[in-house]
């Protein structure tokens, strides 16, 4: 199994429970990086540079903030949400979560639940980071580094502006590079273009 890295956030007021759960999680096959969070707002804090794959939370922290939780959930679609249960909760609260762990679950059961959601995220992260651009993305990249606008690229390649934007987003996600000049260097190092067929510098 691919030992991909999992960023796990835990929002749990009890220190004992937090420590116990962390201890179990670090024993999984995954490379788990665990961070304790104190509230939902921390996920939206601009200082938070971690992209969490899984957030395990005590539903008590969201039950009076369902509106806020729905918003965070919508803004962070890549996070898998697990509830950590040791008392009764309204079904409405639990239905917002992807799965639940209870405090009496065995170690095996907990690992099973985490593996289940993390397999999904491992699969998505694999496609996300897959090396190399598709043929169409390469076409868009070539146009981009010539300095064409989204509209011009759409016209040249006979696709919609929306599609161009989605290709651009994928290019940046795959290469980690946003600026036009940075993408030019990328294209040269990958031999997508050569120095000679670059447009003359303005």
């Amino acid at each position: 199994m691919d030992k991909s890295r999992l960023n796990i956030g835990i929002i749990e007021p009890s220190h004992i429970v937090f420590e116990g759960l962390s201890n179990i999680l670090v024993q999984t096959d995954f490379h788990c990086i665990i961070k304790r969070l104190y509230d939902l707002a921390e996920l939206e804090n601009p200082m938070m540079k971690v992209a969490f794959d899984i957030v395990i939370l005590n539903p008590a922290v969201i039950q009076n903030k369902l509106k806020e939780f729905r918003r965070v959930k919508k803004n962070k679609p890549s996070i898998h949400w697990l509830g950590l249960i040791y008392s009764f909760y309204d079904q409405e609260v639990l239905s917002l979560l992807d799965d639940v762990i209870t405090v009496l679950d065995t170690q095996e059961r907990i690992l099973q639940i985490v593996s289940k959601v993390s397999l999904v995220s491992a699969a998505t992260s694999l496609t996300k980071n897959s090396e190399g651009l598709t043929e169409r993305e390469t076409d868009v990249l070539k146009q981009l580094i010539k300095g064409f606008s989204n509209k011009e690229i759409a016209d040249h390649l006979n696709i919609s502006v929306h599609t161009v934007m989605s290709h651009r987003k994928n290019i940046t996600q795959k290469t980690g590079i946003k600026s036009q000049s940075g993408l030019t260097i990328y294209a040269i190092t990958q031999k997508i273009v050569t120095l000679n067929n670059l447009p003359p510098h303005e």
Binding site: M47, G176, S181
Partner: protein, 240 residues
């Protein structure tokens, strides 16, 4: 980027303990013009000696430790000039220290390995540095004078020549500066293949990481401390 597991800094802690835990705090001391030899003084004492409000110092120090300032934190007019002085000092650090250092490392790399890729990196960096300088000049010539006049007179319709200070423009610049720096790191780590020269490339990457760290805190001080304080004065006047 932010080291995890750092502690939340409090006035009764020894400054030396804070530095020993996170050496990047030294950058902050330099911007505050506080000497590195801090004996066994508490943060409260160091602040008193340097005439810095403890609350402000704690907020900035905690930024270096990875905690954003509490929205309830209260800053006063006296803090304003200290913040501006701090930000100006960090400009000096970027312009006369960090950028020349990075530029020098790229040149050395080019000397050892005269490849097209490094030439492109050099060009990318020069263009990037020109943009950064332009933004820092904008802050010094437009933004800081605007903030200063605000605290001195409560006046907030200051025009400097033809340019008027705009918070939005301020934000756009920042995100540009951060994203190009990220591009450079990604190019060096993922795409530009160079053989050997590991020590030189490590120095270059360390430098880029350190610069990125400090720049990020720089813009957080502006976003979370300076601008809210300025907005409060704009709304309520100097004595509100």
């Amino acid at each position: 980027m932010y080291p995890s597991g750092r502690f939340f800094v409090k006035p009764t802690m020894l400054l030396s303990d804070v530095i020993l835990d996170n050496h990047l705090v030294l950058l902050m001391l330099e911007h505050f013009e506080i000497d590195f030899c801090v004996s066994s003084k508490t943060i409260g004492l160091v602040c008193a000696e340097n005439k810095i409000e403890t609350g402000l110092f704690i907020s900035i120090c905690n930024l270096y430790n990875g905690f954003s300032p509490s929205p309830q934190a209260h800053y006063s007019l006296k803090d304003f000039s200290v913040i501006i002085r701090f930000l100006k000092k960090s400009h000096t650090f970027y312009k006369s220290d960090k950028y020349p250092e990075i530029r020098g490392l790229i040149s050395q790399l080019l000397n050892k390995n005269n490849s097209n890729e490094i030439k492109l990196i050099e060009k990318f960096f020069d263009e990037y540095f020109a943009e950064v300088t332009e933004h820092l000049d904008y802050e010094e010539l437009v933004a800081f004078p605007y903030f200063c006049s605000l605290t001195e007179t409560g006046e907030h319709s200051l025009y400097n020549g033809t340019e008027k200070f705009s918070v939005k423009e301020y934000h756009d610049h920042h995100s540009d500066i951060e994203s190009k720096l990220a591009d450079l790191k990604n190019l060096l780590l993922k795409h530009v293949t160079l053989s050997n020269e590991l020590p030189l490339r490590r120095k270059l990457l360390f430098s880029l990481f350190e610069l990125e760290f400090d720049l990020r805190i720089h813009s957080m001080i502006e976003d979370f401390i300076l601008i809210p304080l300025a907005e409060k004065i704009e709304k309520k006047g100097l004595h509100g």
